[in-house]
């Protein structure tokens, strides 16, 4: 039996033992214990109730206001508040594209940073980097948005987008005039925003890798990179997936920063240079001044879709975590 399999087996045994050995709070006679159990159950239930209420209220508002079929609404491309014609597809597309882009850009950088800090950098350097990293995570999103609009977007328009257009212009992704504002700007600003989250969680996860595992790997003749690849990363992949889910959650729901750089036009284009729109942005933009019931209803329906998209992506990610977390480490 391989070493890693052994580890997993042991883990299962431990889990079983604690599961059997755990005292069942509800059957116990002790009043203090029972009150404690009830209190915690109520607190846990409150989360579900709040989530349920949100869905219920949104559904009520959306349902009474939307005459069109829900599927028609999701497939619809038109967004015309004056004529009460509403469709969500452009917003869903924008949200998915910018979030995917941000993950693609942020994950390698964040992981590289985390591996560097944990495995390679001198230990004195870690707080020097992790402090500003946490600071970055705390910056209000509107500040990121303004920075994006006034610093990043001009740079995109004048440097990055013309460059990408010249080199990769044969791909539909990088065609069209470089406007600066658009999916690319939205995705990049999100990447900057979720990078600290993913990096700092990954650092914590990588730090938890047992030294014995790493030393064993080195003792078997692995280089430092091989040690990271065969010992550290497989051991912490569930945690790293968790970090990515956290980042994705922030990217999906981010409002202000995205709306300032995405161009805010409800269209679908293949090119990342084109302006688009995202679900949270349109809600934030139009809700305060929406007065008639159809318009607010349509916005509530968008919120419901955003809720659905988040739940869906999180469930997929969770299944993924379970899949990678279960399997034996590849040596």
């Amino acid at each position: 039996m391989r070493k890693a399999d052994l580890l997993v087996d042991q883990g299962d045994m431990i889990r079983e033992r604690t599961a059997n050995g755990r005292p069942n709070f509800f059957t116990r006679v002790n009043v203090g214990d029972r009150t404690y159990a009830l209190l915690l159950t109520a607190l846990g239930g409150a989360v579900l109730i709040v989530a349920g209420l949100i869905v219920f209220v949104l559904w009520q508002s959306a349902h009474t206001a939307l005459a069109t079929h829900p599927l028609e609404f999701i497939k619809g491309m038109d967004w015309d508040p004056v004529r009460h014609s509403f469709g969500a597809l452009a917003f869903i597309y924008g949200t998915l594209v910018t979030s995917a882009l941000s993950i693609i850009v942020a994950v390698p950088v964040a992981l590289g940073l985390a591996i560097f800090l944990v495995e390679i950098a001198p230990s004195g350097m870690r707080p020097l980097v992790s402090f500003p990293l946490e600071l970055l995570a705390g910056i209000p999103s509107v500040v990121y948005g303004l920075w994006g609009l006034f610093v990043m977007v001009p740079w995109l328009r004048e440097r990055l987008e013309p460059f990408l257009g010249a080199v990769f212009g044969f791909l539909p992704l990088f065609q069209g005039p470089p406007l600066g504002l658009g999916y690319l700007a939205g995705g990049l600003i999100l990447a900057v925003m979720i990078l600290p989250t993913i990096a700092s969680v990954s650092i914590e996860v990588l730090k938890k890798v047992p030294v014995s595992l790493k030393e064993g790997s080195l003792a078997l003749g692995a280089t430092r990179w091989e040690m990271v690849r065969t010992a550290s990363l497989p051991y912490s992949r569930a945690g790293i997936m968790g970090a990515i889910i956290l980042g994705l959650g922030r990217a999906l729901g981010e409002t202000m920063a995205v709306t300032m750089v995405i161009g805010n036009s409800p269209e679908i284009h293949a090119s990342l240079f084109s302006p688009g729109y995202s679900l949270p942005s349109v809600i934030a933009n139009e809700f305060a001044e929406a007065t008639d019931a159809t318009h607010t209803g349509a916005l509530a329906a968008l919120a419901l879709i955003l809720f659905g998209v988040t739940v869906l992506l999180n469930s997929i990610a969770r299944l993924l975590v379970r899949a990678v977390g279960r399997g034996p480490a590849r040596a």
């Binding site: 015309d80 508040p81 004056v82 600066g180 300032m260 161009g263 001044e289 929406a290 008639d292």
Partner: protein, 343 residues
């Protein structure tokens, strides 16, 4: 003796009520700086009266006054028939005027003028480049580049957009048919920026961009606005005076709901201007609050108007003030009209 007692009692309750009198309002963000100034100045005159105003947006203002959670609402746009059906007891009171200016960014080029046809053509996406013959015809002597026009508009629902689209619909039948009027519309062309600062950002950074922002914002940020051709055929620069002039010749209805002042008559009238309103119940239920609120509004459209121009809002022209006086006098408290002191 009885009389004295009654007076004492009356004074006592008035003082008691005044001690804790707080008037709640919510609504439009556009007039918020001026309203704050008004509230603090009025508070100096009436130290027992405090205002609490939440600038949550016109839509929020209409919702809250309809639901009765605030004592007054504020909106940049008049309530629609549908909205008014839910709260038929609402009176619109115009407080000041704002206007919308057109700003552009063409390096090395200054002094462009726009007529209604060109402006609507650009925003409809039909005039695509700066060297379009129609723009050149209106601006003789200016050498226009071949640059594409990037249209910048507001992405957030806003009273500014409402006034702008109202003007567009008046001067362009095609606009009226395809886009319409509203705080959020389906734009035929261009990019959306959030807030005045978002639109300004788009315009400043993109050579060839053109957008609209509200006058107060343009003045405070020293943006050069293009003169626009008004109904009389005169090119007028946006200013406080030309915005007030826009409302001077307009026949406003008594409920002020039919009071669009875009594309107004008059040689000095700036074509894209509009009122902002306070929304109050025609019959006030709470005596103390109702009295205080109506007296405050009276003060706001008289003494308060002097504070408008320094904050870059256009004061109401005197014919409109007269109309507001009539409207305020018709408001009642518990079914009885309130007598206003001459001010």
């Amino acid at each position: 003796m009885k009389k004295i007692l009654a007076v004492c009692l009356g004074l006592g309750t008035a003082a008691l009520a005044a001690d804790s009198l707080l008037i709640n309002g919510a609504g439009a963000t556009f007039p918020f700086p001026l309203y704050s100034k008004w509230f603090s100045e009025y508070n100096k005159l009436h130290p027992n009266l405090k205002f609490n105003y939440q600038s949550i947006g016109s839509g929020g203002g209409i919702k809250q006054i309809t639901e009765g959670t605030v004592d007054f609402g504020a909106s940049d746009a008049v309530m629609t028939d549908e909205e008014l059906a839910k709260a038929p007891d609402i009176q619109h009171i115009p407080t000041v005027l704002g206007s919308v200016v057109v700003v552009y960014n063409l390096p090395g080029i200054d002094g462009l003028k726009f007529g209604p046809d060109n402006l609507s053509g650009i925003f409809l996406g039909k005039i695509k480049t700066w060297d379009d013959p129609a723009i050149a015809a209106e601006n003789p002597g200016i050498k226009l580049p071949q640059t594409a026009i990037t249209v910048a508009h507001r992405s957030d629902g806003s009273g500014t957009t409402n006034i702008f689209t109202d003007y567009m619909a008046k001067v362009s039948p095609e606009w009226k048919q395809t886009v319409g009027v509203g705080k959020s519309v389906k734009w035929p062309a261009g990019l959306g920026g959030k807030g005045n600062e978002g639109v300004t950002g788009l315009v400043k950074q993109n050579p060839g961009a053109l957008g609209y922002v509200e006058l107060a914002y343009a003045i405070q940020n020293k943006l050069t606005a293009a003169p626009l051709k008004n109904k009389a055929g005169v090119f007028v620069k946006a200013s406080i005076e030309s915005s007030t002039a826009a409302a001077a010749n307009v026949e406003v209805s008594e409920d002020f709901r039919n009071s669009s002042v875009t594309n107004a008559d008059g040689k000095g009238a700036y074509p894209i201007a509009g009122f902002t309103y306070v929304l109050v119940h025609k019959d006030q239920k709470d005596r103390a609050k109702g009295e205080a609120l109506l007296h405050f509004l009276w003060w706001a459209v008289h003494d308060g108007q002097k504070m408008a121009a320094p904050l870059d809002y256009a004061p109401l022209p005197s014919p409109v003030v007269k109309k507001v006086e009539t409207a305020l006098k018709k408001l009642t408290i518990d079914g009885r009209p309130l007598h206003f002191a001459k001010s």
